[in-house]
Symmetry: C2
Subunit: 323 residues, 2 copies
């Protein structure tokens, strides 16, 4: 019965934002008038793995779950459409907390033009949130995958890296001493990642040949692009746009800002591959979408990706200790 009450409350809190959504909450399935190409991804986060309720409010969790799912749509260059939310709620996570989670998720949905068109709420032994998001495009050619990076192209990243990882280390009790507002900014970066939907569409339109969102970290996500494209991404560690404050936090944990930026993940920036003659269009597109683009490497024959040290040698990334 608690589930039914919660579902009713969710339905009251939700609004269809697009007239193409014909049926939604309250039916067996949502019915949406399609545009020519559907772009769909599913993403899951669990307590104790992707977040801790000791450091994340239910509102943080709802935001993060939808942001992670929307980030995949951003990396394809699609427009967000509908989200379908599965909530597995443990005992002790009561209706108030679930509503706080859903309201925060709804706020991000509203801000990004996404309609929460369906959901499922169950009791379960652990807090697990799975979100499927469908985005749309007018034509397949508008979209950017992971498989079309070619030798001679350049590799860029949006914004800055390492902020989320440093924010997590701070939440875990890092001994770094930072100005309070900088510390807060890093923690916020970890708790409230932003899906780069506008940047993704703008970069796709400006000629990006491959994109991926940096959820697992540059080292891992760069490899995905290299493997799928059948090329090697050679990335210069010294050129990574390390977020302010990350260096200090990294050093307090026995590593460097660049190493943390390359491995910590959860920044949800976009890695972008493009031909050299598109550099200025892409930089303009990023700037127009409110972010920046830093060129950090190039594509060569091979397979996978490698991070290079100052002399051009493959770098041994230093691990870091969680306090």
């Amino acid at each position: 019965v608690a589930e039914l009450e919660l579902i009713a409350a969710i339905e009251r809190a939700s609004r269809a934002r697009d007239p193409r959504v014909v049926r939604w909450l309250g039916d067996d399935a949502a019915v949406v008038r399609a545009r020519p190409v559907a772009v769909t991804s599913i993403d899951t986060i669990a307590e104790g793995v992707h977040f801790e309720l000791a450091t994340h409010s239910p509102a943080d969790v709802g935001h993060k779950a939808l942001a992670a799912a929307l980030s995949d749509i951003a990396a394809m260059g699609a427009e967000p459409g509908e989200a379908y939310v599965s909530l597995a709620l443990p005992k002790g996570f009561e209706t108030d907390s679930a509503l706080e989670l859903m309201r925060s998720l709804e706020a991000l949905a509203e801000r990004t033009g996404t309609t929460v068109a369906g959901g499922d709420v169950i009791r379960a032994p652990a807090l697990v949130i799975a979100i499927a998001v469908t985005g749309w495009a007018e034509d397949e050619s508008e979209l950017v995958g992971r498989d079309a990076a070619t030798s001679g192209q350049l590799v860029g990243v949006t914004g800055s890296l390492g902020g989320s990882g440093a924010g997590l280390l701070i939440l875990e009790g890092s001994e770094a001493t930072l100005p309070l507002d900088r510390e807060r900014a890093l923690v916020q970066r970890h708790r409230r990642p932003q899906p780069l939907l506008e940047a993704g569409r703008a970069l796709a339109a400006a000629g990006a040949t491959a994109m991926i969102d940096l959820s697992d970290g540059l080292a891992t996500d760069g490899r995905h692009v290299g493997e799928r494209s059948g090329v090697e991404l050679r990335l210069r560690l010294a050129d990574l746009p390390v977020a302010p404050g990350v260096e200090e936090v990294a050093r307090a944990s026995g590593t460097s800002g660049a190493d943390l930026a390359a491995t910590a993940g959860d920044d949800y920036e976009l890695l972008v591959v493009a031909p050299p003659d598109r550099i200025s269009e892409l930089e303009e597109a990023a700037s127009f979408a409110g972010t920046s683009l830093t060129w950090i490497g190039q594509v060569v024959p091979g397979r996978g990706s490698v991070l290079l040290g100052p002399g051009g040698e493959p770098a041994a990334l230093r691990g870091y200790e969680h306090p």
Copy 2:
């Protein structure tokens, strides 16, 4: 790393069944050439709530998770398209088990013409499977919701009821004595529910005005239709098509076959509402799709649904004890 291995194995086991699926596993999101109307639902099952690994093999779990999600598409009268699978796997549920789960899920996908086009695999404290399924239709008018039942129409159900609930009681150690093959059939009914995709489409085309799949049980699901349509469904307990063997199992647990059939749920039969002049077309459609249709009630002014005893009075449903 176990996740990456598992994902690689899943990709090897999967095949795109529809040329409309342009990009799928291995990209940030699946890309599907749309038909005019998308029909999407998300469904979640968790260990300890919807199944126990003591009585369900990983193959049973994979089948059940996809069957439950596809059943919502069936109840809309849509054609199945793509499934997006989120697996949250606890420690102790190893790669072999996860692969067994996915192979069984793939087998049902293949049988129903569904493509597993995306997924996410994470470690989590409990086994939770969420599946979003998208079906397609050429036009909204082909689809059937829950909200168009009107006074004077009739209520039918496909197939037989109570089998899944009786199968669960047997798995839990019911003291009923049944022939072994009948016992096995009831247990199979519980472990391997079948989504009625063909029946759903045939009944929609034959003039059904409202449908819902019986996942929570006739008493609850009938109420959903009544509330959404603003009418009352009056259902005759004595006319329910109780599956063979259910009466014996129900009696051993202190209730009746009809009471169990009305409340146990998980049968995934379809409840169908239609005008009286469509009876013969609907019966033919059900028969053509390999099932039957039993008329169990009528729609009257009011709100919700009620189960009636032999004298036409509201029946007090008897609960039953799980052994």
